[in-house]
Amino acid sequence: MAAILDVTNMRAGYGSIRVIHGISFHVDPGEIVVILGANGAGKTTMMKAVSGIIPAQGDITFDGTAFTRRTSTDKRAGLGIAHVPEGRGTLTDLSVIDNLRVGGYTRPRAEVAESIERWFDVFPRLRERRDQAAGSLSGGEQQMLAVARALMGKPKLVLLDEPSMGLAPLITAELFAELRKINQETGTALLVVEQNAKRALAIADRAYVISTGQLVIEGDADELASDDGVRAAYLGV
């Protein structure tokens, strides 16, 4: 099966500071892949380079399309990459329902209305607050909204940057259970960057470990979860 996302020798950074030093990885359709790494390892930068928020060198192929410098972020979104950025990217002044409409921007109006109802069923708290400004939601609710907004565009791949950040453990558990379920039901592939390695590995198929801008370990999620080195470094056990 051809990978949905295939990245070869990608390099990226900010201005003259290079953060990612040639990494290669792939995500297969329907797969959950998790990227682990310490703070400053380059996880967020990697995500930004894939969705085109920052420029990158190297080859990125998504669903058969090779990205170039001219493949802007909005074009990549149109092709089926959704990116939930660090800090959730909530459109704080817009209502909850308008946030979802923005998520469905690339899709026909009738389908959008239908999808909104669907995500309201999945996250009933969002329905209760549909006309409230999204900035007034709690952190957990905003994270739910960010996930729902990303999925509104019917993406083939969702990039999730630290979905558990700032969330209470119970809410994190709920969120990851929901992510797993969405992945199973819709077949949407997920690429998750996460500090909460234990929780992320529990739902992932495969994992990569990134350190100072390079991939150092790659393997099945179960294997990595039981690997002594990984356990010591990222699971804290």
Binding site: D74, A82, P85, G89, T92, D93, G135
Partner: protein, 301 residues
């Protein structure tokens, strides 16, 4: 009594013009988060082009009836204003899009000066008369005179602001504009072409300004400096209404126009009318910093 009524009517009439330029300021602010100091001059420039094409010996000269010719001219003014806005954004503002807010505000200041000089160079330094689209005269109303021009201004700009409100709240393009203002990166990540949205936002604002200019010019004289005081009143109107509110801009404009004519007429004479408008801004900012119709921002993390 007649005088009071006349002052109210004149205040509302002028207020519609301030409101219209304020509307243009609000549009740019809502899309870019920027206060565009060149808004008045962009409108002035569009008005000069309308003036030029509607002269009897020019482009639209084949239309014999002057009022019909002006009506066509003003309609084309929408398009002319739009193009000016798009060109200003694409070639002047865009190179600075990643720069801090203050840099961009300075660029709009530069555009203000540049457009003013360019209009003087191309068209005329001397004020020129422009024909009105409205008939002279009006309806007598309790001893005062409600001119056709005032009625026209009220109708045109009230409907324009209602249309814009619908555009913002009901259309896909409106959603794109609101999303772009609020969080440009998130908008892009959802597939919105932010660059194009900004460009069209500028075009839209400038089109509104262009119509306002073309309707104002016959009341004053058309000159490269026509908009200078109008822009100040428009700023007052926009701040009064709340910088992000479309209906607020029009209501703010009317309040500023009324203040100008009533305070100018009864309290301190017309020389200090502008000061009265500024006093109004100060009071509103003290009592209700978000303006009369502006939204209070709420954000939890």
């Amino acid at each position: 009594m007649e005088l009071l009524l006349q002052r109210i009517i004149d205040g509302v009439g002028d207020g519609m013009i301030y409101g219209a330029i304020a509307l243009a300021l609000v549009l740019i602010y809502r899309v870019t988060g920027l206060v565009n100091f060149a808004q008045g001059e962009m409108a002035m420039f569009a008005t000069f082009i309308v003036w030029w094409i509607t002269r009897p010996d020019r482009f639209l000269g084949f239309i014999g009836d002057p009022q019909l010719r002006m009506a066509v001219g003003i309609f084309l003014g929408l398009g002319i204003g739009f193009v000016i806005g798009v060109v200003c954004e694409r070639f002047i503002m865009r190179p600075f899009e990643k720069r801090p807010y203050i840099d961009q505000a300075m660029v709009t200041m530069g555009m203000y000066l540049g457009l003013s000089a360019l209009a003087a160079y191309i068209f005329s330094v001397q004020p020129v008369a422009m024909e009105s689209v409205f008939s002279a005269g009006g309806i007598p109303l309790g001893g005062a005179n409600l001119t056709w021009s005032t009625i026209g201004l009220i109708v045109v700009f009230t409907s324009l602001s209602l249309l814009l409100r619908l555009l913002f709240t009901r259309t896909r393009f409106g959603l794109a504009m609101r999303a772009t203002t609020n969080n440009a990166v998130s908008a892009q990540l959802s597939g919105i072409n932010v660059k194009r949205t900004l460009m069209l936002g500028w075009g839209l604002a400038s089109a509104v300004g262009g119509v306002a200019g073309a309707m104002l010019a016959p009341k004053l004289f058309l000159s490269p400096f026509m908009m200078q005081s109008v822009l100040l009143y428009a700023f007052a109107a926009a701040i009064l209404g709340g910088l992000d509110s479309v209906p607020g801009a029009i209501v703010g404009g009317i309040l500023v126009g009324l203040t100008q004519h009533l305070a100018g007429g009864y309290l301190f004479g017309s020389e200090l009318a502008l000061a009265a408008a500024l006093l109004l801004i100060l009071i509103v900012l003290l009592v209700r910093p978000q303006g009369l119709f502006g939204k209070v921002k709420v954000e939890r993390v």
